[in-house]
Amino acid sequence: MRKPVVSSRVFQSLPCLHSFHTSSNLEKVVAGRVKVSKGEKPVTYEKANFPFQIGVRKSWNSHHTGNLEDEDGAAERTLEDFFIRKFIDGTLHQCLATDLIIKRRANRIFLVAIMLRRLPPQKFYFLIGYTEELLSHWFKCPVKMEVQIVDEKPIYKWL
């Protein structure tokens, strides 16, 4: 544990630094991790493997050339991905069984999704066409959706 450099008595005596806290920082990594409970939480493969397993046990959710060495456009692609994920999350609300997979081939964007049977097929067809049309218009490039349906979330283990 790291000790504060200046003793707390000094801080207490100074009125200007009255609200200054001097505790050591808790270096806990929380991002992208499912909190482990007593085993009643069904978790998919994507969630069960924590971020440091990317490229080892699980693959990337977004495939494009911007992340390769000496290539441009990583920042633009990331921002686009963020927007696409938000859009799909709102459009096909609570239908995604796992995270959306975004693949880019040349100037085309493929959105691969595993969906739950939460909507009737007609609505699915409409929303897929709607998504493709709007995203193609915004990104000025062809966007295609490849949707596959499952009954329940594909559960990998219970955490």
Binding site: K38, G39, E40, Y45, S59, R104, A106, N107, F110, E152
Partner: protein
């Protein structure tokens, strides 16, 4: 448990229905059973025997409650329609199933593929709802038969290779100017890459109709662009935003250089020094005068053979790369000229 119950009920159904029901209905029942056995339970994708697993978990534990609730939920739902892989003929044309590049479809690939890191005491997750299988690129659309079909379709658009251009030497002879450009494939809404504007025009100087003066002047003008070893002139242009503009500019440069090389300015004849020459010649330099002076001092002794030797040795040293042999022969020539003996090597 679900699997066992379904299997048992199906067996009963079969026994009961064999006499009444049509064969097709029986087949449907059988395929449903196969699907269940194939994927195990949906309660876990990665454990081989989930039903016994559920029974091991206490009814009162949170985990047991959650698992059983999920099973109940699944049992109440209408089953999914049977997947396409069950209706596939064995002798079907696979290129119709995967005509172009597409992600893995578990309902269309009749293989029991598994992918992923297994849980403890488990096996890798099955293909149903497996996101890892969708992430990786696949070659299901690039089967040998599909490639054959592509080639057959493309054959109509191909033209015959010209007869007179069978070797690289013949190609170089008939098309001396080589233009090098690059196209880049990358993922972005735009197809245009800023790096694609670079154009290189390469040409052997020996292919151009140049006289001795024009050739040397061209080499002086282009500087580093000329490679002496390969006799190649390489002009690269990247200052304009588009490839075609750069190509036009490079060709313009080439023609300007060619015409400029043929012009002889008046100062070229009067102000040219020894350093401006491409190669040293005995006649051009001042060595002739020096040699005459030496000869006069030596009272016009007969030294014509030594003179010739000196001329060749000195030109060799000036025009070629310095080696110990060329320097040695120059030294011997000078010693001969003055009628001196070579000093004995030091021991």
């Amino acid at each position: 448990m679900m699997c066992c119950r379904m299997a048992a009920s199906q067996r009963k159904l079969q026994q009961f229905s064999l006499s009444f029901w049509s064969y097709s209905h029986l087949r449907y029942q059988l395929t449903k059973k196969q699907v269940c056995r194939h994927h195990g339970s949906l309660v876990s994708t990665s454990l081989p025997d989930v039903d016994s697993e559920i029974e091991k978990v206490s009814v009162h534990s949170l985990r047991g409650k959650a698992m059983r609730a999920m099973q109940d939920r699944l049992r109440k739902r209408h089953p999914m329609p049977s997947s396409r892989e069950n209706r596939m003929a064995e002798d079907q044309d696979w290129t119709n199933v995967y005509p172009t590049a597409a992600s893995f479809k578990w309902s269309a690939v009749p293989l029991s593929v598994r992918m992923g890191y297994p849980v403890n005491r488990g096996i890798p997750p099955h293909k149903l709802g497996n996101a890892e299988l969708l992430k990786i690129p696949n070659f299901l659309h690039l089967t040998p038969l599909a490639i054959k079909k592509h080639c057959a379709a493309l054959k109509g658009f191909c033209t015959k290779w010209p007869d007179g251009l069978n070797t690289d030497e013949l190609c170089d002879e008939h098309f001396p100017v080589a233009i090098e450009t690059s196209d880049y494939v990358f993922s972005s809404p735009s197809l245009r890459c800023p790096k694609a504007r670079l154009v290189q025009v390469k040409l052997k100087l020996s292919k151009l109709p140049l006289d001795k003066h024009a050739r040397w002047k061209l080499i002086q003008l282009v500087g580093d662009l000329y490679n002496k070893e390969t006799d190649e002139l390489c002009i690269s242009a990247d200052r304009c935003p588009v490839k075609q503009q750069n190509l036009d500019y490079a060709m313009y440069l080439l023609s300007v250089l060619f015409h400029e090389a043929h012009i002889t300015e008046p100062w070229e004849e009067t102000e040219q020094t020894e350093e401006d020459m491409e190669e040293y010649t005995w006649e051009s330099g001042k060595r002739e005068e020096n040699l005459m002076r030496i000869k006069r001092r030596m009272h016009n002794k007969e030294i014509s053979s030594a003179e010739e030797e000196l001329k060749t040795a000195y030109t060799q040293v000036c025009n070629n790369k310095e080696t110990s042999e060329s320097i040695g022969s120059y030294k011997r020539a000078v010693l001969n000229l003055f009628g001196l003996k070579e000093p004995a090597p030091e021991t």
